[in-house]
Symmetry: C2
């Protein structure tokens, strides 16, 4: 019980810190009238999307909570509602402040890079601290109310997962529909530059950065964060006959929140010239604090360093995956340079080499995850007690995600800096401002790629931990790969990420097509638009992205819920276990492939733009643009959707385990 209170208090501290940061941001000047006008459009667009989304969400939450309350139990339904609402709140706070930070970052960039970094990072940190703060307060309070009942808490995870689906998949479709639509007509047909206020889709594009990259990423990691803690609590309850297994991850998460806050303060007060360096110092300091804290808490709780070792393994694997992501996606290394070189022989070789980079880049993350699994399982004592071993895997996930507060802060800073650059461009601010924001943005691209790698790795580990918790919940000790039902489950599960990828990419295509039509219409029908005398109808483009995002999200969302339940009920809990296992395996692979291929194309295009292989407007550059355009839905829509898919399906299985246990396998009865 005390641990729940400690957890809730650490969350309160994070929220307080977020509040102080938000106040400090709104106190900053927000520039001239033109800047305020543009920022106002973006803010209105973002809020318009949120309002529409909330209408859908309300219906969804009511329906699902009634189903859970009726068929599972009421406490789980309550936890579900709280989880949903808290995830929504985290996204709301984060976005509300992000859209205020962007214009203030642009204004601060007039004075110095350091002050611009401070504003942008603070804006990101509001998202980061809201995510962890609301996550642990929610878990802490519900743990107190429901007396540490691990199963009820899974409802909280399901709530978080459901909102993540809307935020991440819907957000991904929103942002790429706007981006691709704006580029296809604006850049290619009308020949106007990026971030040009004459382009009707430009505000939607900027809103999309916030919707997809801030709120979407935040909800994704909120889900992983609370999911990892929930799985550790569930397995901890089963592995120990005292409550140490529950206390440890809770206290540890509290330590992680504090380490994140300190890391964020370090970044904010850093005097480093290079923004990357400032972010790195904060990351390393919070990592070191976390390691020390985990050793102390682990030893105090268990009297040995086993739990600590599992935590440390997760933390280290997370950092290494980030580093590997950088190696495959940064222009400082050979993969991106090779893609750029292949651009010399045209689009086809650019595509092939980018895909090859993406495919190759799956190897090390998988090996690292594999080592992390084996180490954390066996170090915790899995060879004598499998439940202890699975608990070790859950701890590795908790460890990897312990500094989520800082990870999200660093990650969300990127789109804010990007938006600041857009505002600077649209408000015709001096070139020096754009230089500062470009520098911040380019650092943001690297942190975004690393953040994606981290999001994938943590989603994998969280899903595996939840998978173990699922097996615990349906009380199956063995999921036999030689049983045909399991095998079939694995095959179908492995196929789902491919289907998901196709569906989300097609959604972007359809939505972008509508956007193209609308932008063309406005160029034709609004007189004076191209001379900058008339204001384009930004709102209709925002509306198209919003409508498309919410519409196109329905099918993937329904599939992620219906398929696991359907397979479980038709073919039984082992088949569902196989389905989850297969989906995690290919989901992680496709996510890595798409994220890294996308980032490699993006950065190889930028590398060419920096002067290599003929520079801008060369044939290589054209091929690079093709690669980048293919990579857009890869890295920002379909790829991230995989994280959601695997976690959502797993937690759906976990929450509905009682139903599956009761009715599972009705199809098999035909043969009996």
């Amino acid at each position: 019980m005390n641990s729940s209170i400690v957890l809730a208090i650490s969350g309160a501290a994070a929220l307080l810190f977020a509040f102080i940061l938000a106040k400090s941001i709104t106190a900053q000047p927000s520039g001239n009238e033109r800047m305020k006008e543009i920022a106002g459009y973006i803010e209105q667009g973002a809020m318009a999307f949120l309002r529409r989304e909330y209408r859908y969400l309300t219906v969804f939450i009511v329906v699902v909570s009634v189903i859970i309350g009726r068929f599972i139990n009421v406490p789980t339904a309550i936890c579900f509602v709280v989880g949903s609402v808290f995830s929504i709140l985290a996204g709301y706070f984060g976005m509300k402040v992000a859209v205020k930070s962007n214009v203030r970052t642009a204004e601060a960039a007039k004075h110095s890079q350091q002050s611009a970094l401070k504003v942008a990072f603070s804006g990101g940190a509001v998202m980061g601290m809201s995510v962890v703060g609301l996550g642990v307060i929610g878990l802490g309070l519900l743990a107190i109310i429901f007396n540490l009942n691990a199963y009820y808490l899974t409802g909280f995870g399901l709530g978080a997962s459901s909102i993540a689906l809307f935020a991440r998949v819907g957000g991904g479709i929103y942002t790429k529909a706007a981006d691709v639509g704006a580029d296809l007509v604006g850049k290619l047909e009308a020949g106007i530059p990026e971030d040009d206020p004459r382009n009707p889709a430009v505000i939607a594009d900027n809103v999309g950065d916030n919707v997809g990259d801030v709120a979407g990423m935040g909800a994704d990691l909120f889900e992983s964060y609370v999911g990892s803690i929930i799985s550790a609590i569930t397995l901890g309850a089963a592995a120990f006959n005292n409550n140490k297994g529950i206390v440890f991850p809770m206290i540890l998460s509290a330590v992680g929140v504090v380490a994140s806050i300190i890391g964020a303060i370090v970044v904010r007060t850093s005097k480093a010239e290079n923004p990357q360096k400032a972010l790195n110092i904060g990351t390393y300091i919070s990592g070191i604090l976390m390691i020390i804290g985990a050793a102390v808490v682990g030893y105090t709780t268990f009297g040995d360093f086993k739990g600590f070792s599992a935590i440390a393994a997760g933390l280290i694997v997370g950092l290494l995956i980030g580093k590997i992501t950088e190696i495959y996606t940064s222009a400082d290394y050979k993969s991106v340079k090779e893609v750029a070189r292949q651009a010399e022989t045209g689009s086809a070789t650019t595509i092939i080499s980018g895909l090859a980079v993406g495919m190759k880049s799956t190897m090390w993350p998988i090996i690292l995850i594999a080592v992390g699994i084996l180490f954390s399982y066996f170090v915790m004592g899995g060879n004598t007690d499998p439940t202890l071993g699975l608990y070790g895997i859950a701890l590795a996930a908790v460890g990897m995600l312990s500094t989520t507060g800082l990870v999200v802060s660093v990650d969300a800073y990127g789109p804010i800096a990007d938006n600041a650059g857009g505002i600077a461009e649209m408000a015709s601010l001096p070139h020096s401002v754009r230089e500062v924001t470009d520098k911040l943005d380019s650092v943001g691209n690297t942190t975004a790629a690393i953040g994606k790698g981290f999001a994938i790795g943590s989603a994998a580990l969280t899903a595996l931990a939840l998978f173990a918790a699922y097996a615990q919940a349906v009380d199956i000790k063995i999921i036999d790969l030689l049983a045909p039902t399991t095998l079939v489950g694995v095959l179908i599960g492995a196929m789902l990420p491919f289907l998901y990828g196709a569906l989300t990419m097609e959604s972007v295509g359809r939505a972008a097509h509508e956007m193209v039509e609308e932008v063309r219409r406005q160029f034709k029908e609004i007189p004076g638009i191209m001379e900058g005398k008339a204001t384009p109808e930004y709102a209709t483009c925002i509306d198209i992205s919003t409508t498309a995002a919410l519409r196109e999200m329905v099918l993937p969302g329904v599939l992620a819920i219906v398929i696991p339940l359907g397979v479980g009920i038709l073919l039984g809990p082992e088949a569902l276990g196989g389905l989850i296992g297969g989906a995690i395996a290919t989901g992680v692979l496709v996510a890595i492939l798409m994220a890294n291929a996308g980032a490699a194309w993006d950065n190889s295009k930028k590398y060419i733009e920096s002067g290599a292989h003929g520079g801008r407007n060369s044939e290589a550059h054209k091929a690079g643009i093709v690669g980048d355009t293919v990579g857009d839905p890869f890295k920002d829509t379909a790829g991230p959707a995989m994280n959601i898919l695997i976690k959502l399906m797993t937690i759906v299985s976990l929450v509905f385990a009682p139903i599956i246990l009761k009715f599972g396998g009705i199809l098999l009865n035909l043969f009996k």
Copy 2:
């Protein structure tokens, strides 16, 4: 014993039929001097490749057979040598006749489409009949010699798999290096048409069709064919305490050989105007004969229709997968049309939509395979005796592959028709000849796509059956997905197809690059080459493709053998089981994705060329060419390599099961 004799006799019949066909082909006129000259180049090039390949193979076979003889046992080593040699012989016969058939097809096309079809199909049928004939003779004789010892026969499967690796992966690299290299310089730089004799890489390109599409495909299906029979024999021996479980698949295969011969005769004597119709009639007749035969043999053997049902399920699933492949890859259906439509907005949207088609197209084949697995498992009685159920899955694989003789015949006909068209072009034959060969070739494209779908489906089912046989061999009753070692095995296994895809695509890139350099050199250094006065040095281009194919094949080959053994020895037989399961799941998915995306791009380009979206030389056409070029290594190199990877890894595990059983899991001992 009697069943082995029946099997061997059916094989002898197939070989006799192949011999008659080969005689009938060589009796045909081979055209004018120019045609003979060109055909001579192709024949010499193909034989040069084979000779070089055989040198490598001899070393490989000697080394591996010594290892098997030393560490496993001598009979298995003998079976390995026989399997290798028989696969080589099938490829040799098939290719020898294919390169004779192409020029004779071109000559026959002067007279009528029907006679051209007859020659081309007969050429393909020599390959088809050689595959099944040598397959069943080998199995039959070895079964007699080693007194139906199922385990020894796995060596035969390993031999077949090893040669398939060389033929399919090496062949895939050969053909695409030549194709891409010829296109990049010839079409794009020098502006000369396809199949122009002035292009130094043109003969290598034509040789590649035979090396990759005839010999490669043949070896791939030879492997699946014998693999399915071996797994059925292995599991049949375990499932029954009499020899019915062994006799049934043997007799059935003999029936399949006869059904294939009859089907081939029907095609040859068909009077149908449309070549597709002639091929379809033959396919349906052999399918119907097979169903009837299976019912009779099944009932006679077991006294019920259980075994028959499993066989029929496999056969039907195979046909349906072929049909689905057609739906996603033929211009008669909406997917290809949609890709063509997306070509209007450029290369990027073409690539995205093609990838989406490929990803989506994985769904139905996986569901069909899943249904096939469940049905054949349970219909055979798997719910009471799991070994019987696994035997049912093996029977489904045998059923699917029973008419392999005809499938390979239909499939190998395509590249012969394609080559005939190339010879007609190079020898400046009348336009009407090219029209006939184009018609035959376009039917060949569809049959090739269907054949690829069939090859993937059968590889999946064969690998699963071999997987079950592996579990039998290492005597594990359960492969628990909740054990961390299994989970790690699944993750690593699932990753391997991605790694393999990256490696093979990069190989094609490197080899094509060398080819480009050489063609450029010849255009520059050989005077009169562009005026058609000097003959290009075809042999050096052939040499480049040959060297590259053999060199680039080493790493993928080594990985496919070392990784399963390494994982088995380090992490134990369950981890290896997980690895195989994971590799099969993603291997099948990636194979389907690549084959269908590649074919969809190819056919959408052809659809545009037929006049849609602006026709030839439109912007859409350029985008279509980009898609087709990306698709080339997809569908002809990386995709087919997946079939080999999953089967080879599985049979390596099966053959080396005693070693893994003895030494497996040494890394885990560290934690004990």
